[in-house]
């Protein structure tokens, strides 16, 4: 990962559900800390348009999809466990993997 590449993230939410709010809040905090100035977050409210779930095969909400950098990654849940979220986004190597 280079320090200049853009991160395009898409968060699927269900309106104002508690887990959706938590996921967006946690995601913004993680991005501000680890990807300052080089990320974009697109929020898709599936309560408004459930058909959009098809695009990324969403089954549970909230789900975060990392569109860029490739490969595409999906993280299910409210991102309350920051360590797990960082590993899921590949911002931090999984334990046992080389850095």
């Amino acid at each position: 990962m280079t320090t200049t590449e853009r991160w395009d993230l898409r968060l699927y939410t269900a309106g104002q559900s508690p887990k959706s709010l938590a996921a967006l809040s946690n995601l913004k905090r993680i991005c501000d800390e680890h990807l300052p100035g080089r990320y974009s977050i697109e929020v898709i409210d599936l309560m408004k348009n459930p058909r959009l779930a098809k695009d990324d095969e969403i089954v549970a909400i909230p789900t975060l999809v990392r569109k860029l950098p490739e490969p595409l990654r999906r993280i299910i849940g409210d991102l309350s466990n920051e360590e797990r979220a960082l590993v899921g986004l590949q911002l931090r190597p999984h334990k046992g993997e080389a850095a």
């Binding site: 269900a14 309106g15 104002q16 559900s17 508690p18 887990k19 959706s20 709010l21 938590a22 967006l24 809040s25 913004k28 977050i41 697109e42 929020v43 599936l46 309560m47 459930p50 058909r51 779930a53 098809k54 095969e57 969403i58 089954v59 549970a60 909400i61 909230p62 999906r74 993280i75 299910i76 849940g77 409210d78 309350s80 899921g88």
Partner: protein
């Protein structure tokens, strides 16, 4: 489901640890979202249908949720508002007051300020702190401009007046003209009723028999 085993494990973990609160169910032609808490679903319907704006922010003022009414007040597409700082849509002179309000307010506290619309217009509003939970504040936003009757309504009333005059001055025995005028009045009144319903945001009401 095309999720690979790793993603299935991830899904199972997220469910068992209570990190999800909704699921997408149904098939290709009829997808819908199933919320785990039905009480929340009723609350959400209220928030989406009410005539006031609603916005949920973090303690730092980042927008986590807005209803369509709030986006309409600003004249900005709803999707652009997520994660943006609320203060960006408040007049410069009101930003410090907003910041204090978010930090210090208790439930039902109110603050009047001006929102900066995309077209540059300042919109006077009243913010009311509806809930404060888990570090998030939900604000209700009331438009303080005087109620404006749409010009369409005024036109409709003029039209009713014309029809009544026709009826009053019509030659006696001209039943067809009278019926036509009455039909016209009935049509206009129905139109007015529909408009008032829309203004009051009344949805899902059983149809009149």
């Amino acid at each position: 489901m095309k999720h690979n085993p790793t993603e299935s494990d991830e899904l199972r973990r997220a469910i068992t640890e209570g990190e999800v609160d909704a699921f997408v169910v149904g098939n290709e032609s009829n997808r819908r979202v199933l919320l785990l808490a039905t009480a929340y679903q009723r609350y959400r319907q209220l928030v989406e249908r009410m005539a006031q704006g609603a916005v949920t922010v973090t303690a730092q003022g980042s927008i986590l949720y807005v209803n369509q009414r709030f986006a309409d007040m600003l004249g900005i597409p709803l999707a652009q508002l997520y994660t943006a700082p609320l203060e960006a849509y408040v007049g410069m002179g009101d930003r410090a007051r907003l910041s204090s309000f978010l930090m210090l307010s208790t439930r039902n506290s109110q603050l009047e300020l001006a929102l900066s619309r995309r077209d540059g217009e300042q919109l006077p509003v009243r913010l009311s702190l509806a809930t404060y939970a888990d570090g998030y504040a939900t604000l209700l936003v009331t438009d303080l401009r005087p109620m404006q009757w749409p010009s369409l309504t005024v036109d409709a009333l003029d039209s009713i007046r014309d029809s009544l005059e026709k009826l009053n001055h019509g030659a006696p025995g001209k039943d067809a003209a009278a019926r036509e005028a009455l039909d016209r009045i009935s049509e206009e009144i129905n139109g007015l009723a529909r408009m008032i319903d829309e203004m009051l945001d009344v949805e899902g009401r059983p149809e009149a028999r």
